[in-house]
């Protein structure tokens, strides 16, 4: 009898306890939306890339909200995403105030922007406000050596770009393979980092850097560099010029009849309109292939189809895919976070392991993304992947002399 009474008391206590805790759970206000913020260059000199990134984010939000939102552990419920984008007018000072505004609006995370100037201003604010920041195109590794805790870069970094370029050279049959590399170093931190890794990796892999020349971000005349590379017998060229510089370099290489077997300009030829601007002169040029519409990763086909349906007259640039992928990374972290707060999301980001539209993404301890090292090459009007760790890429084409090109 006594044991029955005891069981009853225990059951009563358990009932009261569970009722109480479940009331507490239900008492937590389920937010109407998950607020995520981004300050992006929708106007000004970086607007073209900024709008592409924003389009990528918007499509990701649409796809997530079409499925009811992100399943949040804390509430065991799907909550739609609310993306707030403010224009920073391509001005880093505005990035700071916009991100403060988003902080005041209590966003749970920031998303990165297209251009480095704004990203650099933004990630400092993210760290200060303790808001997780997921970047899109921040290729400078040094940024992640500052001990920041809230900054994540799910994209290719300088060392990956260099490794992918050397992978492309390795893929060329030995008889045709270039051996002497000319490094045209852009005088910015990214260019310096690339030089550091090119010197290291080239030595390890048996290539010679026969020429190193530096140039400023506003250099327009490259003839002395090109002639020096030509006379040094360099049969491969590597650089990270600005997009207008990559176009000028190719034009001047043609004028000076310098056609190395392999030319890699990481920035510029990756833009969707590069072929339209350069025509057949773009052939054989290698560039970053971080994301292309042809990638076979899950969700990529849907992204491309929906983008083309929504913007039938727009070319689909790499930042669209990169933006979409960054949002997937953040959404995944939110779904894995114990709570819908900034610190929990930051912790979840550190253990990211997701296959996005541009491949698998994880982070090292610094927040540097481990993403597939990919390189693309313009081959008859199409940007074709020539280096990929995940699937069989197209063969690398060795450039022919300018006089033999049709």
């Amino acid at each position: 009898m006594q044991s029955k009474r005891c069981t009853l008391v225990v059951a009563m206590i358990a009932f009261i306890f569970f009722s109480f805790t479940s009331v507490l759970v239900f008492a937590q206000d389920v937010p109407k939306s998950i607020k995520i913020g981004a300050s992006i260059s929708l106007t000004g000199r970086f607007a073209a890339g900024g709008i592409d990134v924003a389009d990528g984010y918007k499509l990701a939000v649409k796809h997530i909200n079409d499925n009811g939102g992100i399943l949040v552990k804390q509430f065991n419920k799907k909550i739609p995403v609310e993306l707030v984008i403010y224009d920073d007018e391509s001005d880093p000072s505005k990035t700071v105030t916009r991100l403060e505004k988003l902080n005041a609006e209590k966003v749970v995370a920031y998303l990165g922007e297209f251009a480095s100037d704004m990203n650099i201003a933004g990630l400092g604010i993210a760290e200060k406000n303790k808001v997780p920041w997921v970047g899109v195109t921040i290729a400078v590794e040094n940024v992640f050596n500052q001990g920041f805790k809230y900054v994540f870069g799910p994209n290719m970094f300088s060392f990956m770009e260099v490794a992918a370029f050397l992978d492309a050279l390795d893929a060329i049959p030995k008889a045709q393979r270039p051996t002497k590399i000319a490094n045209f170093e852009l005088q910015v931190d990214w260019g310096k980092e690339c030089t550091k890794y090119l010197q290291k990796y080239a030595k390890e892999r048996g290539y010679t850097i026969a020429l190193e020349k530096k140039f400023a971000p506003d250099t327009k005349d490259f003839s002395s560099m090109i002639l020096a590379a030509k006379s040094a017998g360099c049969d491969a060229v590597f650089a990270v010029p600005t997009p207008p510089q990559s176009m000028a370099l190719i034009k001047q290489m043609k004028e000076l009849d310098y056609a190395p077997k392999a030319t890699c300009f990481v920035r510029g030829p990756d833009l969707s309109n590069f072929w339209q601007v350069m025509g057949k002169d773009a052939n054989y040029i290698m560039t970053s292939g971080e994301w292309t519409p042809d990638m076979p990763y899950p969700g990529n086909k849907k992204l491309v189809a929906d983008y083309r349906a929504q913007y039938p007259n727009k070319l689909m640039g790499m930042p669209v895919g990169n933006g979409y992928s960054a949002f997937q990374v953040l959404a995944d972290a939110i779904s894995r976070a114990d709570k819908l707060d900034r610190e929990s999301i930051r912790q979840a980001l550190t253990t990211t392991n997701i296959v996005t539209v541009k491949g698998k993404v994880t982070f090292d301890k610094r927040g540097v993304g481990n993403v597939p090292h990919v390189l693309a090459q313009w081959q008859n009007g199409k940007l074709v992947i020539i280096v990929s760790p995940d699937y069989k890429p197209a063969p690398v084409l060795v450039a022919t002399p300018w006089s033999k090109r049709k």
């Binding site: 929708l42 106007t43 000004g44 607007a47 709008i51 984008i85 403010y86 224009d87 920073d88 007018e89 001005d91 880093p92 000072s93 505005k94 700071v96 105030t97 916009r98 403060e100 505004k101 902080n103 005041a104 480095s116 100037d117 650099i120 201003a121 990630l123 400092g124 604010i125 760290e127 200060k128 406000n129 400078v140 040094n142 940024v143 500052q146 001990g147 005088q187 910015v188 931190d189 260019g191 310096k192 400023a216 971000p217 506003d218």
Partner: protein, 313 residues
């Protein structure tokens, strides 16, 4: 005299009210906007003393702003107290102004403008080449970062700049500056040492541009070293002075408040169209109010008087 006293009382009340803002407002966004307003008031007023009061169009303000930011940041990060670093920023800007001013202020008209623009371009390229990287705050500064001390730094710099400009333009030096602006040759004919007044205006202008640069270096957590040297810092102060009213004391203050708040409002509400609409508003302001917003009441008075005359006929 009574008007002036009233003005002082109003100014004191405004400054006290601004100093009390952190006690009643907790939102960092508000501080960041106010910091930007204070920065632009300082920078535009520093341009105004040379361009508006002395008639010397400096299109290279970024060089002085940038050198102030560079010196202040380097010293502060190296361990010098921030207030001394900012002061050093202002002084380094003055040194640059002496080096440039001695030959450049002998030039007249457009040549001075072109010369200063060339200095700004050279400074931007040089700093970009020598320091191509990013200036990050060391971890110990990052951990204790707060906007409130930055707010007070910008407020103090702005109030000092406004006081210095006010005292200068209302003194004999101010008369010399205005004489130089109105007709340099005539002023010289009656014995005014125009070069001296141009130099004084240039030194005051560059000192406060350098202090503003120091404030920028103290405010920003991370930025490219070349950023404060970009030409944007040359043109924005000029734009603000023309919006507010060139050659007037209140003009740059009104211009800065309108510029920052309108741009913020447009950017937050109009999306991609914001710059276009701001551009239209700016063109209309210049077309219909060439004396800036400060000339608006006189323009309206004139308009009503004309209408009154028509009715009276």
């Amino acid at each position: 005299m009574a008007e002036r006293k009233k003005g002082f009382v109003v100014a004191a009340v405004v400054v006290i009210a601004l100093a009390l803002v952190p006690l009643v407002v907790a939102r960092e966004y508000v501080f960041s906007i106010l910091c930007m307003i204070f920065l632009y008031v300082t920078l535009s007023q520093s341009w105004n003393i040379l361009g508006g009061y002395t008639g010397q169009i400096n299109v290279g303000q970024a060089a002085f702003f940038g050198i102030g930011a560079l010196a202040a940041r380097l010293l502060w990060v190296a361990g010098v107290p921030f207030y001394l670093s900012i002061l050093a920023g202002g002084l380094s800007s003055v040194i640059l102004a002496i080096i440039i001013g001695l030959p450049a202020l002998k030039l007249r008209g457009h040549y001075f403008a072109i010369g200063t623009l060339a200095v700004a371009s050279i400074a931007q390229i040089t700093v970009g080449n020598i320091l191509p990287g990013i200036s990050f705050l060391p971890a110990q500064h990052m951990a204790t970062y707060s906007l409130i001390p930055r707010y007070y730094v910008f407020l103090i710099i702005m109030v000092t700049a406004l006081a210095a400009v006010y005292i200068t333009v209302n003194s004999r030096i101010g008369l010399g500056m205005e004489a130089t602006r109105d007709d340099e040759e005539a002023a010289q004919m009656v014995g005014v040492n125009t070069f001296k007044y141009k130099m004084i205006a240039f030194l005051i202008s560059s000192f406060f541009a350098g202090l503003a640069g120091g404030g920028f270096a103290y405010f920003n957590a991370s930025y490219y070293w070349y950023l404060p040297f970009t030409l944007m810092w040359c043109f924005e102060p000029i734009l603000i002075v023309f919006i507010g009213g060139v050659g007037s004391f209140i003009g740059p203050i009104i211009g800065s408040v309108c510029y920052v708040l309108l741009k913020e409002l447009f950017a937050l509400t109009l999306g991609e169209a914001n710059l276009l609409i701001f551009g239209i508003v700016f063109i209309l302001t210049i077309l219909f109010f060439p004396k800036g917003i400060i000339g608006l009441p006189a323009k309206l008075r004139q308009l009503f008087r004309r209408r009154g005359n028509v009715v009276g006929r």
